[in-house]
Symmetry: C2
Subunit: 122 residues, 2 copies
DNA sequence: TCCCTATATGCCCCATGTGGCATATATTAA
DNA sequence: TTAATATATGCCACATGGGGCATATAGGGA
């Protein structure tokens, strides 16, 4: 692993600087999710979710893949371990927030759908 | 300790969103410093240091006190322990940056001055 | 092919934040 | 009082970034 530039750090902290992105990232620390699940959990319009996920993606923090009409997002598995450890640490801080806890209740329990199941509603 | 609102988290991450503030905070994690020491270590104009320290102060991350013409800054001792632990964790991440390492070399060794010594140059 | 659902994005307005300079304030010494 | 050092801040121009709406794109089913 090479060095991490101040530019990378800026990119990292910039990504976390937005309340919505922070909440999205926290959800993804729980498990992989599709856009519409995050919409419902955070009760925010679709274009916001897409927009901010796009920013997280550009910062290299998440990756996405398509399954039918759904786009799934997850924490990027290729993330440097330093970053991963930092996220785990930040999670403890974020979880002090009642709003974060409420968000998490919105995705409790594993997805009822399995890969291969027909795509019905989201 | 009560809850931490999403507003507090935003304030926290907002404070870290600026490269200069991040570097200042990293220096202060090492030890208490006065403004002119930070100016020299980071090689940046005085008004920037003051400005950004002011923002860190408003975010509650640092506190200051006067000693003669100097203003000393340090990590706020009253900071919630969750925040303190987070800062320690973030330090590991930040220290991966060569620029951060270079900044630290600028303040190596304890201050040569002792409280009570005459204020000469900074 | 047409339609519906799911997702992404272009565009414009506005709020926030920073750079940079000049200046104000505070403290100490002469 | 005057000067010098150390620090804070008001002001303005500019860049960045999010809100919000409309629209584009893509996949699946009838």
């Amino acid at each position: 692993m090479g060095h991490i530039g101040i530019k990378d750090l800026s990119s990292f902290h910039g990504a976390l600087n937005e309340p919505l992105r922070l909440r999205l990232l926290r959800l993804l620390l729980e498990r992989e999710l599709c856009v519409c699940e995050m919409m419902r959990a955070l009760k925010i319009p679709q274009y916001k979710v897409s927009r901010h996920l796009g920013i997280l993606k550009k910062a290299g923090l998440v990756r996405d893949w398509r399954e039918g009409t759904w786009i799934h997002y997850e924490i990027a598995p290729t993330l440097p371990s330093v970053i991963k450890e930092t996220l785990v640490c930040l999670r403890s801080l974020w979880d002090q927030s009642p709003l974060i806890q409420e968000d998490l209740r919105g995705i409790r329990g594993p997805s009822t759908r399995r890969p291969g199941d027909p795509v019905v509603t989201c």
